[in-house]
């Protein structure tokens, strides 16, 4: 990732800030500027070469003491609980650093014997916050911040996996300084930097000074971890250093053989960038393999990035599939329009005919339901007994079909009249079966007209058809 054209790293060594990029495995410094000058307000982006300005700053390597470590104890391992807890603890422990909550990360301890189960690491040097702010202002904010000790730790672990369960130390000897790193069970403990004085021309003087400092560090290690330092490695351009120091310290020192793929670290680069000068792109990338701090928002953005990428990819795929479906549907809807239209034309004609047929059926049904005038009149006559004569009749067959009939029943006596009336009602009931059956109470009797040997009984009734 670091080998890509548009990415680089920044390194703080001494009081200088270096903008570094990798050409293949070889490291090159694109720009170097005094840290104090860089942090000045009037230091503008234009002062930085365009090649640096336009690229992604993947990593900021700062001196070891810029990052602090602390062990905390918390039962929960849920990120949503741990993060606010660590943030609160750091803020309370370092009230002088208001931005400390934005630059920290943590790891759960593998060792139950350790004082806390959470190992939090954080930016602790005020200069680090200023530097980040300045880099952000210039639009080259680093994605992660780490220290050489963390990179060395991972590198050692990779070269000697057996060291994970023991205490180990690394001596990185450069021409002008020597850096000591101490780890216990894979966890970084502390580091020391020993600057060689310019006057120390003699190797023996340097060696004595170094022996003294290393012994002091061994003692510190023992005090801190209550354990012995089992393995000591040295990384130096001078092969004799391992033997000299072993003799001087009185214990075995392993020379660290780094497989650099044939690209030995550039001496000049190593002196310029300090401990960082020996790191290859493989050591520094990907960042997640060693401990590093990311700005809170940046970390959150990175956390969500896989979700966003997955969401975007799934969304695009879905869009493409649905687009294909849409295209297919469009094609389907438009295929053979001629035949389809002809079918529709024919269909429309059929539909019109069916509609006319339905309307005709409705009308015919309506006609059929309407009582026929001549049939009704014929039926009425057939219901009348012989002694009944119709005087008036009103037949309505259009709306609310109804028959109103005025007749005269000629009978010799009341019994005969009753009998005739019963017969009339019986006949009407049998003939007009769909009509409500009439009873004697439905018959209105008119003024009785007596005759010679008979009596005329005028009657009137209505029959709903």
């Amino acid at each position: 990732m670091l080998k890509t054209k548009n990415s680089g790293i920044t390194v703080v060594h001494g009081d200088t800030l270096f903008f570094v990029s990798y050409a293949g495995e070889a490291m090159q410094v694109d720009h170097a500027v005094s840290l104090n000058l860089f942090l000045e307000d009037d230091y503008a982006a234009s002062s930085i070469p365009a090649v640096v300005r336009g690229r992604k700053n993947r990593l900021l390597v700062v001196p070891d003491y810029w990052i602090g470590q602390t062990n905390l104890t918390l039962q929960s391992q849920k990120r949503s609980i741990v993060v606010p807890f660590v943030e609160r603890k750091l803020a309370s422990e370092h009230p002088e650093l208001p931005d400390i909550g934005l630059f920290f990360d943590y790891a759960f301890s593998k060792e139950p014997s350790e004082p806390g189960n959470i190992s939090a690491f954080f930016l602790q040097d005020p200069l680090s916050f200023k530097l980040y702010q300045k880099l952000t202002t210039l639009d080259i904010a680093p994605m992660d911040i780490t220290i050489p000790a963390y990179v060395w730790g991972k590198k050692l672990e990779k070269l000697h996996p057996e060291l994970v369960d023991s205490g180990s130390g690394l001596i990185q000897k450069l021409s002008s300084a020597c850096h000591l790193y101490f780890y216990h069970k894979g966890r970084f403990l502390f580091s020391r930097s020993i600057q060689f004085s310019d006057s120390a021309g003699e190797d023996t003087e340097t060696l004595d000074a170094l022996t003294y400092e290393i012994n002091q560090s061994f003692y510190l290690f023992s005090q801190k971890e209550k354990a012995d330092l089992e393995h000591i490695f040295i990384h130096s351009s001078r092969k004799e250093d391992a033997a000299d120091l072993a003799e001087s310290l009185g214990r075995k020192i392993h020379s660290l053989d780094i497989d650099d793929g044939g690209n030995a670290p550039n001496q000049e680069m190593t002196e310029m960038l300090g401990p960082c000068g020996v790191f290859t792109p493989k050591d520094l990338s990907p960042v997640r393999k060693y401990m590093a701090v990311a700005q809170k928002d940046h970390a959150r953005a990175r956390e969500w990035r896989p979700v966003q990428i997955s969401g975007a990819i799934i969304g695009i795929l879905l869009f493409l599939v649905l687009g294909g479906e849409h295209f297919f549907l469009l094609k389907w809807a438009k295929q053979d329009p001629g035949i389809e239209n002809a079918g529709i034309m024919a269909g429309q004609s059929s539909r019109e005919t069916i509609q006319q047929y339905n309307e005709a059926l409705d009308l015919i049904l309506q006609e059929t339901r309407r009582p026929s005038s001549w049939k009704t009149m014929k039926d009425v006559v057939s219901c009348l007994p012989e002694n009944v004569r119709v005087q008036e009749m009103e037949l309505l067959v259009a709306e609310n079909p109804n028959l109103s009939l005025t007749c005269v029943v000629r009978a010799e006596d009341m019994a005969k009249f009753r009998s005739s009336l019963s017969m009339l009602l019986e006949n009407l009931g049998n003939t007009f079966t769909t009509s409500p059956r009439l009873g004697k109470r439905d018959i209105e009797l008119g003024e009785i007209l007596p005759g010679q040997g008979y009596t005329d009984y005028p009657i009137q009734f209505e029959l709903r058809l």
Binding site: A141, Q295, D297, H298, R300, A301, W304, R305, Q308, G311, A312, G315, I316, L318, F319, L322, G323, E325, H326, L329, L330, W332, A333, E340, G343, I344, A346, G347, Q348, S350, R351, T353, I354, Q356, Y357, E359, A360, L361, L363, I364, E367, S372, S373, W374, M377, K378, V381, V390, Q391, E392, M393, E394, L395, L396, V397, A398
Partner: protein
């Protein structure tokens, strides 16, 4: 960095909005195609029905056509109808025939007519029967019968609706 996170969410949102819009469009199109196919299926079913019941449909349509007389002019047609009614009535032995029509009382496709005749009950029934058979577009709506004062025969008032349809000319306009 916050801006970048937000911007990325917006991009993802736009992509998904596009996908959802496409889903909506596809559903709409599927619904449209389904409706069209159903419509075509119905039309095909209509065709099959018409093919299988062609004779019956024609009969029904003819019967329906017979219930309305196509006319060009109402006045001329009314005269013709009156003559026809009069002629049929005379043929069936009805007398004292009088016809009245009121075009202003026209209701849609029907004109009410009133016919007054003197007849026996039997003759009137035969006339009504002949009328229903010969002229189905003349619909009897009511019959009012009163006995003649002399006791011989009856006086009838027959309400008739003349149903018509305005014939279309060659250009297809009514």
């Amino acid at each position: 960095m916050k801006n970048r996170l937000t911007r990325n969410w917006i991009v993802v949102g736009i992509i998904w909005a596009g996908a959802l819009t496409m889903t909506y469009l596809n559903l709409q199109m599927i619904q449209q195609i389904k409706t069209e196919q159903e419509s075509i299926e119905f039309m095909q079913m209509d065709d099959v029905f018409l093919k299988n019941n062609f004779e019956k449909v024609i009969q029904v349509l003819k019967r329906r056509a017979s219930l309305h007389k196509p006319i060009d002019s109402i006045q001329i047609e009314l005269l013709s109808i009156e003559n026809r009614l009069r002629s049929l009535a005379q043929k069936k032995g009805l007398s004292e025939i009088r016809l009245a029509s009121d075009q202003t009382a026209m209701q849609g496709d029907r004109i009410p007519l009133e016919m007054y005749v003197t007849s026996t009950y039997r003759d009137l029934v035969f006339w009504l029967r002949a009328l229903e058979t010969d002229a189905p577009f003349l619909v009897v709506t009511g019959v009012k019968m009163t006995e003649n004062k002399d006791g011989e025969g009856y006086r009838f008032q027959v309400g008739i609706d003349f149903r018509f349809s305005v014939a279309e000319d060659e250009n297809g306009s009514a």
